[in-house]
Symmetry: C2
Subunit: 214 residues, 2 copies
Amino acid sequence: MRATVLDQSVREFSSGLAAKQPTPGGGSAAALAGALGAGLVSMVCQYTVGRERYADVEEAARRVLARADELRVELEQAVDADVAAYGSYSQAQSMPRETEADQRERHAALQAALRESTEVPLGVAERCAELLELAAEAAEIGNPFLISDAAVGAEMAAAALASAELNVRLNVGGLEDNAFAGEVRTRLDAIAARVGGRELVDRAERAVAERAGA
Amino acid sequence: MRATVLDQSVREFSSGLAAKQPTPGGGSAAALAGALGAGLVSMVCQYTVGRERYADVEEAARRVLARADELRVELEQAVDADVAAYGSYSQAQSMPRETEADQRERHAALQAALRESTEVPLGVAERCAELLELAAEAAEIGNPFLISDAAVGAEMAAAALASAELNVRLNVGGLEDNAFAGEVRTRLDAIAARVGGRELVDRAERAVAERAGA
């Protein structure tokens, strides 16, 4: 077993998803799609900064680039964190349940694992919400020869966000810590308000239609 | 330089997207997202086939699994094919343009490369349209403990399709072969009719809401 799925080749990762093994699964695929989206936003900015022609957007492009780079690394880490969360859950499930003390411990471990399995995709969703804003901005200000990549970045971020949210919603229902569950739902509402459905994706694609090759 | 980007590690591929280098770019990211989606659909079916409990959907799950496996391999190949298409274009651009004969040759090579750069994402879009149908079916008939993975697969396929379509539309405008350009537009219309906007993604997510953990 490799230390991290990020060290697997792209082909191994893709085949690993398809295989009859629980990880990597949808949570890791979603995090990776987000990381790919962040990478594309960075690429657009890389071809924008430091050029006389785009001097008027230099500062904004540098800011978007720096933040997209950070988000990419964090989303890459979430690919692994999702595998680890499944490991925690699986380990908790296999704990003994002979005595009452066993059962209490196992129950607590399962709840902790469920919390981990909620926090990881919630973090992915929040990062992808921010990434969607950056992708729309990159499509609007970036080098027009590459802005289709910004729009693809927006599509990747939107799919990653929707996928992560789905996993959060499935896991939050099993949480017994009502305060934490409530906090999770508040954060999901904040994400929904931030992205406004398909609004940011549409903004990126509108920018491509207007500016591509300009 | 590696023979294929599929041999790169997941982390290298993700960093490579972000780097100031033209490939891999949005076309490869889209194809990979499609492959990840196909992988997830396969995984759901892997945990469905051969089980007494899901005997009534055995045949359908086997069919979906076999086809999703094929699509995954084809979409993985498209990750590389997109890099190759960019290489053809870049090579054509650097051809000499001294004489009239040079210019004619260079022009023909650019048109051939543009055709390649249209065919690759068109193939991705068509495969993702089929994959969306399979993902919706897997969400409806698959092992309910894994169907969120089918819905994530649908999200990945939809994002890959939209991204590939964007690249087709950007490239088809530069094609001088009107017959081929017309054929491309006809195939895009067929894809749009097949997937019906977000209909198949919604079907997958409705199935998750109704069946998850059932």
